[in-house]
């Protein structure tokens, strides 16, 4: 199959570059420039987006430093605490920590399907001086493919 078209991109022969070392250096330099650009890009983006991943207890242990700082918080929705105000479309609930601590959270926006009392959730936002955590993102650990919590549930049902 000698397609004419195959030849249409000519493999141009050109005079050899003068020295191997020179071209090697050139590649190294260009490669390093590209690489440092990538690293710089990553660094800047990282600095802008990095935040603490904390539990409720850890947040409260931070004292005054905890206020007005964007963090990602994990905890459990305290039983019976969630109430939704449909008029303003805001959700209020208490996020429970490990040793009885809890934190009031307010969130407005679409509530994920898996959200319910007692579910493990992740919120992103910041703790206001009023003592309320204002969340701009609410994620629920979705009981999808490889779930852990069914084990305990299953154990409960087996009784």
């Amino acid at each position: 199959m000698t397609d004419r078209h195959e030849k249409s991109v000519p493999q141009t022969e050109f005079p050899k570059s003068r020295s191997g070392i020179l071209s090697h250096k050139r590649f190294l330099v260009v490669g390093l420039i590209v690489l440092s650009a990538l690293v710089y890009l990553g660094f800047v983006a990282f600095r802008g987006a990095a935040m603490y991943y904390l539990t409720v207890d850890e947040l409260q242990a931070r004292g005054d430093a905890a206020y007005e700082e964007q963090v990602r918080l994990t905890g459990m929705v305290a039983e019976g605490s969630a109430e939704k105000d449909s008029e303003t479309n805001t959700l209020r609930f208490a996020l429970a920590g490990e040793d009885g601590t809890s934190l009031p959270v307010v969130y407005s926006g679409a509530v994920p399907d898996a959200f319910k009392q007692g579910s493990d959730v992740v919120v992103e936002g910041s703790l206001k001086l009023t003592g309320t955590f204002e969340a701009d993102t609410l994620l629920v650990k979705c009981p999808s493919k490889y779930e852990a919590e069914t084990n305990s549930e299953a154990a409960g049902k087996r009784d």
Binding site: D3, Q11, G20, N89, A110, E147
Partner: protein, 665 residues
């Protein structure tokens, strides 16, 4: 049945372990009888894993709730189709599913090996069966899907309603297939390293298998995006969740390999680099399998804990260290045959593409594992959200798209000014006015102008290539234009298949860029008769409707849609509550046109019949799915077996001996 299945798993574990050792010894010492025995062991292993899988599926259909896994993922009222999905719905079953695929792949490799690479096949089988034996060991001793409970339950817990969609058949299966198939190119690479035969034999097979795995991985990611967009109602198709990242990283590394492998085929360069890419790709696959099962990261997906995590971590470490040691031992044989001649050449542009793809994979990796790293080093978890990924990926993908326009058209070795002028004047002539027009009509941010003109440039370059090919056929073969196009593609499948994949990427990128930068959404509580206006759409809420099924309740918001004052039909956005725990599932109301999607989520309602609606207009989303489809079709064309057995011709050599070798360091 469960006992029989478990016996099959144990036996398969023993036989595959034997097979790995036997195949290796047979290959090393060239004992043909031993190889024949090992080969039979491959077939037997496949039979046994099939038996175990059949036992699991049988237990599902006979509702055998004495098996913990069956009880956890099904119930007696679960429809037959979803009952089958139980096979891969959970961690233990999905491991068996992967093992079954792996054993099937081993059979294919062995059968193919009777015709090609005969002496090498035992090595390949040894690696494949070794990995399979490890998986079967995990299944047998740490995560047995056929494990019985002391007391049978009267009823199973049923499948999570979120998983009861047709996507449950497309997304997990293709993803698991993709991950599993990447074992094969890895096995070929390891066979080359172990045997010391590092010539081109492995690279052809590795490339084909990688393409197949790449198709499935691409599909898996795409189906996941569709699922997240239409059913899960998360408001988007991609959220940079660790589990999504887990499937995206190997895709990036594999894409890099598929490009750099061409340099090795044509120019005998980058041999070491290609090995490294195969190893990285497979390690990332194992890492992804690990991520979804280890509970290491907080994610919207919940994970199972247990012994499986550490065992998979050990396998990942073992594979990475083992393959790097092998690589180190074979380093002297992986020298390049040639060196890079010029920065303005196809080789150099491919290298740049590789650098950016791996840079992207690394950025994703860094963002994904940083919480673990910082926890280990400083004792605090610090992580990044979507903004990090968006800020790093956007420029990198912009660069990749530009390279995508340059790579296939620039000359090998050293591009001449004529070559550059010939191939890039017209595309630039498309891109420049496009950029200017976009800017003048007020498209902002500038990023958007840049992105869309880059896409125009690449589209121009590819279409020009098609046009030239068609014209050449028309003149050379006398084909009429409509006939020339399919013939052109068919007779140069690899080349034009690749171009078609790139067209798919352009469409996909167009959809992602547009929907990301230009979507608008409004969230509002509305009483019946009230409407929400977004762009030129008016969505009027008519009423809430409740409908009850046997085990489910559905609340639907009935909506009338008009666009620019004209009636545009009706739409339904609903939430259904299903199963034991009445878990809600959001069904998005979607009106999709090539131009834009009208996307309505019913997020809640009040007692007095008002609905809380989120209405979004997402431009060009349909092109993401179309682009994905085009990519898959292009890959299939490139992959279609070549009857002529014609190998790509090496590029003519005019290089003096003793040149500097790139790709060694």
């Amino acid at each position: 049945m469960a006992d029989l299945g478990y016996a099959a798993i144990i036996t398969a574990f023993i036989i595959s372990a034997y097979c790995a050792v036997a195949a290796f010894v047979a290959a090393r010492a060239r004992i043909n009888e031993l190889w024949l025995s090992a080969r039979n062991a491959v077939f037997v292993t496949f039979g046994l894993t099939s038996l175990a899988s059949a036992a699991l599926v049988y237990s599902f259909f006979t509702r055998d709730f004495s098996i913990a896994y069956v009880a956890e993922y099904s119930s007696s009222d679960l429809p037959a189709s979803y009952t089958l999905a139980g096979w891969w719905a959970g961690q233990a079953g999905s491991m068996l599913f992967m093992a079954w695929i792996l054993s099937l792949l081993s059979v294919i490799v062995v059968v193919q090996g009777q015709r090609q690479n005969r002496e090498m096949t035992p090595f390949v089988s040894a690696v494949l069966m070794g990995i399979l034996a490890y998986f079967l060991g995990i299944i047998a001793f740490a995560s047995n899907p056929l494990e019985k409970m002391p007391l049978a339950l009267s009823e199973g817990m049923g499948l999570n309603p979120l998983l009861r969609t047709s996507d449950m058949f497309s997304h997990p299966t293709t993803l698991l297939l993709g991950f599993s198939i990447f074992t094969v190119p890895f096995a070929f690479a390891m066979a080359a390293l172990i045997s010391g035969r590092l010539d081109d034999w492995w690279i052809h097979s590795a490339r084909r298998w990688t393409l197949i795995a790449w198709i499935f991985l691409s599909l898996g990611n795409l189906f996941g995006m569709v699922w997240a967009y239409t059913v899960l109602g998360w408001g988007g198709y991609w959220g940079w969740d660790p589990v999504e990242n887990a499937a995206f990283m190997p895709w990036l590394a594999a894409t890099a390999f598929l490009h750099s492998v061409m340099i090795q085929e044509r120019r005998g360069m980058l041999k070491l680099w290609n090995m490294v890419l195969v190893i990285i790709t497979y390690t990332l696959c194992l890492f992804g399998t690990l991520l979804t099962r280890s509970g290491m990261l907080s994610s919207v997906h919940a994970f199972a804990m247990g012994a499986v995590g550490p065992l998979l971590l050990a396998l990942t470490g073992l594979v990475l260290v083992g393959s790097l040691v092998l690589l180190w031992m074979r380093l002297p044989r992986l020298r390049s045959e040639h060196r890079l001649d010029s920065l303005v050449s196809r080789e150099a542009s491919f290298l740049a593409n590789n650098l950016v793809l791996l840079g992207a994979a690394f950025a994703v990796f860094w963002g994904t594992v940083f919480p673990i790293l910082s926890d280990a080093v400083r004792g605090v978890k610090v992580g990044v959200g979507p903004p990090f990924y968006e800020q790093t990926m956007a420029p990198m993908f912009l660069a990749l798209i530009v390279l995508m326009g340059i790579c296939p058209l620039i000359g090998w070795r050293k591009a001449s000014p004529e070559n550059l002028a010939r191939n890039f004047v017209y595309p630039l002539a498309v891109a420049m006015p496009l950029a200017l027009t976009l800017y003048l009509v007020g498209v902002r941010p500038l990023y958007a102008v840049l992105a869309f003109s880059a896409l125009g440039f690449v589209a121009g370059a590819i279409l020009l290539e098609f046009w030239r090919g068609v014209r050449a056929r028309h003149r050379g073969h006398g084909d009429s234009y409509p006939v020339a196009l399919p013939r052109l593609v068919w007779h140069n499948r690899r080349r034009y298949g690749g171009h078609i994949v790139h067209i798919g990427v352009i469409l996909l990128a167009m959809g992602i860029a547009a929907s990301h930068m230009f979507s608008t959404s409004v969230e509002k509580t509305v009483a019946p008769g009230e409407s929400i206006e977004v762009r030129d759409y008016t969505v009027t809420f008519r009423e809430l409707k409740e409908s009850a099924g046997s085990d489910s309740l559905r609340v639907t918001a009935m909506l009338d849609v008009s666009r620019g004052g004209n009636d545009a039909g009706t739409l339904e956005a609903s939430k259904r509550f299903e199963g034991n725990d009445q878990q809600p599932v959001t069904d998005v109301g979607l009106r999709s046109t090539p131009q834009e999607d009208l996307y309505v989520i019913l997020s809640g309602w009040t007692d007095d019949g008002k609905a809380i609606l989120k209405v979004a207009v997402n431009p060009l989303v349909m092109w993401i799915w179309i682009g994905g489809g085009v990519m898959v079709v292009g890959t299939l064309i490139a992959l279609w077996p070549d009857g002529r057995r014609g190998r790509r011709l090496p590029v003519l050599e005019r290089v003096p001996v003793g040149g500097l070798e790139v790709g060694r360091a």
